[in-house]
Symmetry: C2
Subunit: 239 residues, 2 copies
Amino acid sequence: MRHCSSRPDRVPGMEQTAFDDPAYRAAAVDLLGVLAYGELTAFERMAEDAKLAPTLNDKAELAALATTEFGHFVQLRDRLVALGVDPMEAMTPFVTPLDAFHDHTAPSDWLEGLVKAYVGDGLANDFYREIASFVDAETRALVLEVFADSGQAEFVVDRVRAAIDEDPKLGGRLALWGRRLVGEALSQAQRIAADRDSLAALLAGSVDRPGLDLAAIGRMLTRLTEAHTARMTALGLQA
Amino acid sequence: MRHCSSRPDRVPGMEQTAFDDPAYRAAAVDLLGVLAYGELTAFERMAEDAKLAPTLNDKAELAALATTEFGHFVQLRDRLVALGVDPMEAMTPFVTPLDAFHDHTAPSDWLEGLVKAYVGDGLANDFYREIASFVDAETRALVLEVFADSGQAEFVVDRVRAAIDEDPKLGGRLALWGRRLVGEALSQAQRIAADRDSLAALLAGSVDRPGLDLAAIGRMLTRLTEAHTARMTALGLQA
């Protein structure tokens, strides 16, 4: 968000015309589609991972996170409908890569599920907020609202730290797990960027809509990495 | 609710004192506990059954129902907290019978999941609303609000009828499934009534709190059966 003031999509009135550009429209629909399916599938997987909870209280905490994700899905879907787009069609291209991410990162126990909810979703949310600076003001406002950190996942910090205090060996295993989550996320993100020219073009920019140059990409990755490291540290894990 | 006007728990001011009676308090806590765990586990199972959906749209519909159940759980849990009760402790006695119900009625396909969401939850909600007439006004208002029929499950009617239109053989299998759901629900309800004296006493009444006589139980069962039959008929199934 740091370079927003110089971005043409903040020019007043630009919002009304952004969707007249078919390339922009395709990109915005793709973005909303991937975010919506991301939230729907996050709901599903968290609801499933809640089954691993050792106590009813823990189960209820993760289930609450899951329903929050579903609420996000509803907001994104409603935005697609408002744009005259079939949300299910918009989500379809992203089913394979996002399902693959979850299939490759199915937690084998409750703590892995917690780290995934905290670290994986934290990273994804940061990335979505970064992308928000490339879209029209209304879409941006929605994305920023949906992916604002509600602090709801903070219970994870307590649980993971307490578990590591009790059994320090866990720290090593969960740190590896955190790195695997990032690796799988990057691999699927690259797949999506390769498959969806519209999204790649959104970040790369066009004649009248500057995108990220290499230096800006570097700064974005730095911000994402720093926030990820902070989350791992909060959990007592080495990033 | 038909005999409420003659019930002592509608006497003004009774609400303030109902919880002074330890037997009443135990029954109300048990009731809120079983309802809360019922909703938490309904959330879990519907979220899981949503995976069987043939389309993303169907998945989103059942996931929406699941999150509604979770919202109900939150309301019931908050009421337990307001009464100074640990909600997780209140739910614990009901984990085994409710998990057994779900284990015995795990849908083998999407349509069975839909029928379970519509017929099983419909019957449970009706029963909970009947029980509401035996509790203090504040608890009753909460139970009636939580279990009011929001009509959110109506999409099930479309889906099941369309499937039977396409393959009439399904009607017989799903009708059997509906009957099995009722049988399993009754069997676990009896188990709960046998294990939890407080709940049985709530329905049976006490010296200063009349309960159901046999005729009233008969009328209640008639109401429940009629509503169940109406739901089966709405789906195109023989009850």
